[in-house]
Amino acid sequence: MTFPDIVTLAVPLFILSILAELAAWKATGRGRYETRDAAASLLMGLGNQIAPLLGAKVLLAALWTSVYQFRLFDIPNTWWAVLVCFVVDDFRYYWLHRIAHERRLFWATHVVHHSSQHYNLTTALRQTWTGGLLNGALFTTPLVFIGFHPAMIVFAFGINLVYQFWIHTEMIDKMPRWFEWLFNTPSHHRVHHATNPRYLDANYAGVFMIWDRMFGSFVPEDEAEKPRYGIIKNLGSFNPFVIAFNEWINLGKDLLSARSVKDVIGYTLGPPGWSPDGSRLTSARLKERWAKAQADKALAPAE
């Protein structure tokens, strides 16, 4: 059984879909496009294809080939094994994605994907240039150790990535109820990309929404509160190199200012926004601030 490079094969589909969404935007006024933002997203996507060639791909292949020699089970390369691998890999993706939002070392890589204030199909391609080696080594290696062939895992994750492309759109409101329950959809993923406090740190799923429902991170889209996309402190540039390395530079500056091992651990493994004196805002504190404002608003007429 051979496994094609599904992401590369999907590139023409990506391009045609974006052009179709652009035409729909122009025709209906639904959604939002901005040229420089779209160009930045697409160049990030192109860089994401090139970056692994600088060494990470070879190193991961070597690591996985070595680990595969010591696998726990001999899982055959069959269609049912691919299905199991796909589900297990989606579970892996959920936790990688969740940790990427909750721990700054991993956020420094993933923030790139959230750095656009727009939400359209080009946003799907705004991907990191860094972190592939760390994420692959830490989160994918266990699957290899279980006994899934590395090529099968790469194929399964490729399908996962291609699936996630179409959910980056404002053109689709809601899918049928059963589909919304089981799968990640444009509605669920809009919530994930939103900076509205009530939507922060939610909906980490890749394909199956059940992980969020199981682990308490599911938040439905509220029609009364339209998502506003981006990050808490939006970037001031469309430069792809700035987008790729901004958070790494900020993390580096913070580490240079650290006065103790506790500070170093807090800056790297604490949540984004952590600071020794608590002067910055983490997601949890942003949510608290929002909840307090809501409570004050509710009490206001009675005063």
Partner: protein, 137 residues
């Protein structure tokens, strides 16, 4: 690097060029303008507990600045494409320069070195410069 890979990258680059050109010709190259309403709305979303004492909107509508009601912080709103970004700075740590009619807030961030707010005239620039430095009304 194999020929096949080069072809793939070349095709991807061509796809990027086609899409970017399409967005441009469909009118997606848009630049937002900062207005008092836009500045207040955007800052209100990003920093809901910041009470502005009134905004000075840049003459070129590219940025705006406000002092907080207690005078301890300043709020900045600046244009990024068809949208805005904001910054909330402690006045004590703010680095401010005056450049003719403009106020230059030095952020020294990787994504933005400075935000330039062009005052309506020299008198307004002077007044805001002193006010932000705590030397005026």
């Amino acid at each position: 690097m194999t020929t096949g890979l080069l072809i793939e990258l070349g095709l991807s680059l061509a796809g990027v060029a086609v899409i970017v050109a399409a967005t441009y010709f469909l009118g997606a190259w848009r630049t937002a303008r900062v207005t008092p309403e836009a500045a207040a709305e955007r800052f209100g979303f990003d920093e809901p507990d910041f009470e502005a004492r009134g905004w000075m909107i840049g003459k070129d509508a590219k940025a705006a600045v406000a002092l907080s009601r207690d005078g301890a912080e300043i709020g900045l709103v600046f244009v990024l494409g068809d949208d805005f970004a904001t910054r909330r700075l402690k006045r004590s740590a703010m680095r401010l320069e005056r450049d003719a009619d403009a106020l230059l807030f030095l952020l020294n961030e990787p994504s933005r070195r400075a935000v330039r707010v062009v005052a309506p005239d020299a008198a307004a620039a002077e007044q805001w410069f002193l006010r932000l430095r705590g030397e005026g009304v």
